[in-house]
């Protein structure tokens, strides 16, 4: 399917081509510098002392490299606890979203039935409402189940609001795989569930991993619902927990950034791993009716 990637500017030959080439590199450099700037600020500020951060005369790089900030944050806040909460919420949400998403995506890509359009419509509608708009209703249903201030509430909300992307990604993957092998397996006496789990899922593994990681990252970075539903400090996930350094009279920027880096680095690495597969899946699974 994938055609050879197109090249605008071929090997530099004429002066005009050379100029374009220089322009291209210039654009890339500007871009990379602008994108990395906030990360540079985060990193260098995490290594400064509070006095240096609030000093009248600012510095680009720390005068004293306070590496111990990265150790201190674990003592100053229950950061380990926040980490565990984030892992539990993201892991749980991912497991539920994918376990519910796989059979749905399978039915949507392999079967013909009435109400398919309706279901896909429901999936799109679920994307029109961000959790923040529905907080009033979400709060109500969680009170009904006695789930306010529990991690389980965050797991369910994240799983539900990521269902659309999980289904789009998985459906896109399944549709790109020919159903012939499954049909052959059915003839050999497999039932549909076996055909799916033994034949389709192993082939679709890269797409499934992409969906897993994508949902995990979304849940990991979620802020608004956690802010509203969780009131106990020990149940906060990282995104809400790190704002502990954002005090009433003074923000402890060095600690805020040190803990932010701990919260950011793992997901950035995960995201880079799936970047290639992600968007193709999103656009193909979502559009084709």
């Amino acid at each position: 399917m994938r055609k050879k990637e197109k090249v605008y500017i071929k090997k530099a030959q004429t002066p005009k081509d050379k100029a374009l080439r220089v322009l291209l590199y210039l654009a890339v450099i500007v871009l990379v510098v602008v994108i990395l700037y906030p990360y540079f600020v985060m990193f260098t500020s995490a290594l400064k002392s509070r006095a240096e951060i609030y000093a009248m005369k600012g510095t680009l790089l720390p005068i004293e490299w306070e590496w111990k900030n990265f150790v201190d944050v674990w003592k100053l806040a229950p950061l380990a606890r926040y980490f565990i909460n984030s892992i539990v919420v993201s892991g749980g949400a991912t497991a539920i979203a994918i376990l519910c998403g796989i059979p749905a995506a399978y039915a949507l890509s392999r079967m013909k039935f009435k109400g398919k359009k309706f279901f896909l419509g429901l999936v799109i509608i679920s994307q029109m409402f961000a959790p923040v708009v529905l907080l009033v209703g979400i709060y109500k249903i969680m009170s009904l189940f006695h789930l306010t201030d529990t991690l389980l509430a965050l797991i369910f909300i994240n799983a539900a609001f990521n269902q659309a992307f999980a289904i789009w990604l998985l459906r896109g993957t399944f549709m790109s795989i020919s159903p012939e092998m499954e049909q052959a397996a059915t003839i050999d006496g497999c039932n549909q569930v076996q055909a799916m789990t033994r034949v389709l899922l192993p082939v679709a593994a890269p797409g499934i991993v992409t969906a897993l990681i994508f949902v995990f990252i979304n849940a990991w970075n979620e802020y608004t619902v956690a802010l509203t539903l969780i009131s106990s400090d020990i149940l906060k996930p990282l995104t809400v927990g790190i704002t502990i350094f954002n005090g009433y009279n003074m923000i402890e920027w060095q600690y805020l950034f040190a803990s932010s880096l701990f919260a950011t680095i793992p997901v950035v690495i995960l995201f880079i791993c799936i970047e290639k597969h992600l968007v193709g899946g999103l656009t193909s699974g979502g559009v084709k009716g």
């Binding site: 871009l31 985060m42 079967m111 961000a130 009033v136 209703g137 979400i138 880079i272």
Partner: protein
Amino acid sequence: MKSAGPYIWLLPSMLLMVIFILFPIFEVFRTSVSKVSKAGIIKGFAGLDNFTKVLKSPVFGLVLKNTLVWTIVVVGLSTLIGFALALVLNNEFKGRKIARAIVVFPWATSLIIQAGVWKFIIDADYGTLNTLFMKLGLISKSVNWTPTPAAYFAWECWVGIFVTIPFVTFCVLSGLQSIDISYYESATVDGAGFWQKLFHITLPLVRSSLTVSTVLNIIYVFNSFPIIWTITKGDPANRTDTLVTYLYKQAFYKGRTGEAAAISVIGFLILCICASVYMVLSLRKEEQDA
């Protein structure tokens, strides 16, 4: 059995969405037409009282205007820049893989963290943007980057653009990679220039990716909460509030649940209109081109 088959496969997913999305949607609509006590308990039907209260409030017009400016500016500029970026990254050059990985950063980082860093960067007293520009010799003394609420709002828009660009870029890139190179080769033989190729080959062929990314971005940006919440909380005096920060304050600070629900419903209606107008327009365009 055969006819029930597909529905059993859909059941878990269906249950999850019905309980945790559809039911809250229903609750929000119900609350919006109900009398609600401060504790959030429904005390009977209120008709459109909550809506008239919201619409009569003197700040609502301002909040609505902010929301539209925020959505249009952020989606418009990030689509433009993201598209240009995709064209750049689609070239072959040394370090292209690294550049693509770096573009992912803002997408993968929590909005709350992104917004926190930018709040620090632009701070008038100790912000690092002043330090950087002074070291580079661009300015000679500290500049107050946020002298007015409008300036704050502009910075919030910038952060919004910054975090939205990667999604557009990757959507467009995936569209670009499916274009057959022979189109460009024959266009070059025919003497077509860069702009002609851009408007007559590239744009029509990536239009569907662009439509997906734009519709999703309209929804996400319209409903985006963490950036404004972190940087200004909508202050001073609602000057930087959008619908979602405004409704959050109504619901959880002021205990006006009914009005908050009415704001949600108004927001949803606006979003529906915008998204469907955009879809209809771009689909019609596609038909014309075909």
